[in-house]
Amino acid sequence: MTSHLPALVVTVPLLTAFAAFAAGWLRPKLCFPVGLTGLGITAISSILLLAEVLEAGTVTYELGRWPAPWGIVYVVDRLNGVVLAAISLCAFIQWISSRASVKSQFSDRIGAFYGLELLFVTGAMGITVTGDAFNLYVLLEIASITAYALIAMGGGRAPLSSLNYVFMGTIGAWFYLLGVGYLYIMTGSLNMADLASILQGMRSSQAILVAFVIIIVGVWLKMGFFPLHGWLPNAYTHAPWPATTLIAPLMTKVMAYVMMRLVLFLFGPEYSFGVLGLKDVVVWWASLAVVAGSVIALSQKDLKRMITCIILIEIAYMVGGTFLGNRSGTTGAIFHLVNDVFMTLCVFLAVSSLAFRQRELDMDAMEGLFSEMPFTMGALVTGALSIVGVPPTCGFFSKWLLLKGALEAGHYEFMVALILSSLVCLVLFFRVFEAAYFGHGERSHGHHRMREAPLGMVVPLLVVAIGIVALGLMSGKVISSIIEPALPRGVL
Amino acid sequence: MIWQLDLVILTLVVICGIGSLMIKDLLGAAILFGAYSFMMCVLWAIMGAVDVAFTEASVGAGVSTVFFVAAVFHTTRRTKD
């Protein structure tokens, strides 16, 4: 009996989205529990799928029982197994913690909001698990359209920044579609494994080169890689908090996974790194992106906009790590992708519970936060330490691997950029903690009563913080058992 | 597939495309965009893609133009560029 886990992993959130939207109209109180059970089942099935992949190696699942190049086939290996587990856990935790803010802001259209959030999770899961190039485009569009609508719910400037995101996102997605079209006209197939085998023989053709460039530009545009990042700071800052805490940790990381899947598996490491010779150019570009991201993050006054700009730095790490070309660099990039999902989730959830308590998010109005909201600030400290890369947390191990990869590949400018941006992140977060801990503004004189965020927000936040530390401690086992064998042979 | 007919329709499509971007009145842009979609639908019908032409006619020329006109009705027809 072939295990139906790959199909369950995507169709369960899809059916839950329909159930949540229908519940919005029939009995609004049911929306939250329906979504909770759906995401719970998805999380469990994706962890079971990861376990199955670890034992039985790559799992393939034919949709509609049509064989590979004709029908659509799901291919789950260790790389997307671990990313699937990370996405579903992150979505499950975010769902619990954003309940209070969704109920307060969107009570009259709660079914629609929850339905779109679940469709976004479906899109993210589907992009990760699919083995068909065009199916990836359709799921990319689902994740994008739901992201446009969720971001535009912020009010004030949100629709304008969402419309800019629509324009840049559509151009990125349709460039990817055009690249798939170029591949299809030259090879005749849409299945990724089939395409990869045909492309081995067409190393020298111009059309494949242009297809590679278009697809990479489209994916970088959707990812928010440095020169193409114009939409990201505005979109995530003006979005409402439940939308930001869901979209920020997932969208850019899933697109980073798509880039790795295409570069390492579809076009193959020899082609994407060797033939074009753009390997060094991209690593230089990534170092520039890291520095630019740090400068942008330094110049921000609003806390929410600052942590959004930190995402730009994280993306540049992943692109640089992938294009380093050697084994430890790529392993570092994949492990950083998984860590980054949880790090970003932790920091965004912490700041959203600050915002939920109507705290001023301005940098220099943070007095007495440690005394008022100790648990939230504790989790924020853990997330910050992980982003900076301090040993017990998982951020350190992935950055260490990236550093080792850069050293072996001889890209010293990428190492300098890595260290510099870690220091900048340290400065950024220390500025916040210094004001929050030592601040003696007029607010903290009055009372030291603990006005913590509601329990529903604090408990998931603490779980994520503990998860970051646990992931850090287990990083040796995670890397050796899951990520190390996930790399294709070609990565020398 | 008479290539002269194909060429004529292609030039018409390009003209409608440029026209709907250059025209100063948004309602005019919406109508020209509807004409552009209809020309595209005829082009695909000639190329043998009947299902796609049917969809483009009903979705592209039909409903998109109604959405454009509805949106322009609630905003302005005035454009600067």
Binding site: G126, V138 | F67, H74
Partner: protein
């Protein structure tokens, strides 16, 4: 911005044209695209799915998973427009307009709050967009049933002729939009209330995903219609054709409801009282 736009377009265009030099000549029967995967669709469609229209069989069966997510995309667009624009508190009007049905005399009642109840000789009239044309209204009232009949034909006949779920669904939606434009939005909403539209759009997509899940429950892979032959009295090939038809009906319902929801929200800026 203008120079940046020109620069980017010329660069991308040059790159694309440089690459198109290597394409197989236009319309060449043995280009890779026509030799690698698609011959099986054409030759085997009658034998495996008994559906002569190869596009419908590939759309709903060989690559049925794409179409399920495509229907989810249009559903997501409908939900987004509802969520973005819909405002539940109505527009406060200082005065209401009524038209005497027989003579066409218009009456302006200065009264705050809700509309007056329905009167025999008078019918409520939009105060925002008030053109009234007897010829247009009666012609549209005459035309709409035939449009809907044709749309049902298009959905049902997707196997043998061009057409299918999407095209039929859009035409059904267009007939309701025509009603909303020729009469006024209130009468269109009286035909199909907003709540039923929402339930229809969910039901349509749920039919599609439900058929797939049903095949899963019957032990076969997701969206493998041959499994339907266990519960329906058809052979596996006939079961595929039946599965395709079920899916087309689901898509038709979902697309119809979504198009109307998007139009209602766009045309009345979310108040759903007066539209185009």
């Amino acid at each position: 911005m203008r120079i940046l736009g020109i620069l980017v377009c010329v660069a991308t265009g040059a790159m694309l044209i440089w690459a198109s030099g290597e394409f197989p000549p236009w319309g060449d029967p043995n280009s890779p695209a026509s030799l690698h995967v698609s011959p099986r669709y054409i030759e085997k469609t009658m034998e495996e799915t008994s559906v002569p229209n190869a596009v419908t069989s590939v759309l709903a069966d060989y690559r049925g998973y794409d179409t399920m997510f495509e229907t989810t995309v249009i559903f997501a667009a409908g939900v987004s427009c509802f969520m973005l624009l819909r405002l539940f508190s109505g527009r406060e009007r200082s005065s209401h307009h009524y038209r005497h049905i027989l003579t066409g005399l218009t009456l302006r009642v200065r009264r705050k709050g809700k509309q007056l109840p329905e009167l025999e000789e008078f019918e409520p009239m939009d105060s925002l967009w008030t053109p009234y044309d007897l010829i247009l209204r009666t012609l549209c009232r005459f035309l709409i049933p035939f449009i809907q009949l044709f749309a049902l034909y298009v959905i049902a006949h997707g196997h043998h002729s061009p057409g299918g779920g999407f095209q039929g669904g859009v035409i059904l939606g267009a007939s309701m939009i025509l009603l909303a434009i020729s009469q006024d939005m209130r009468s269109a909403l009286r035909r199909i209330r907003e709540r039923t539209l929402a339930i229809f759009s969910v039901a349509g997509v749920a039919i599609y995903a439900g058929t797939g899940a049903l095949c899963l429950l019957l032990g076969s892979n997701f969206l493998d219609y041959a499994a339907l032959s266990r519960i329906f009295p058809v052979d596996p090939v006939g079961a595929r054709s039946l599965g395709i038809f079920l899916v087309e009906v689901g898509v038709g319902i979902a697309v119809m409801a979504t198009m109307i929801v998007i139009y209602h929200n766009l045309a009345s800026e979310g108040f759903l009282d007066e539209g185009l």
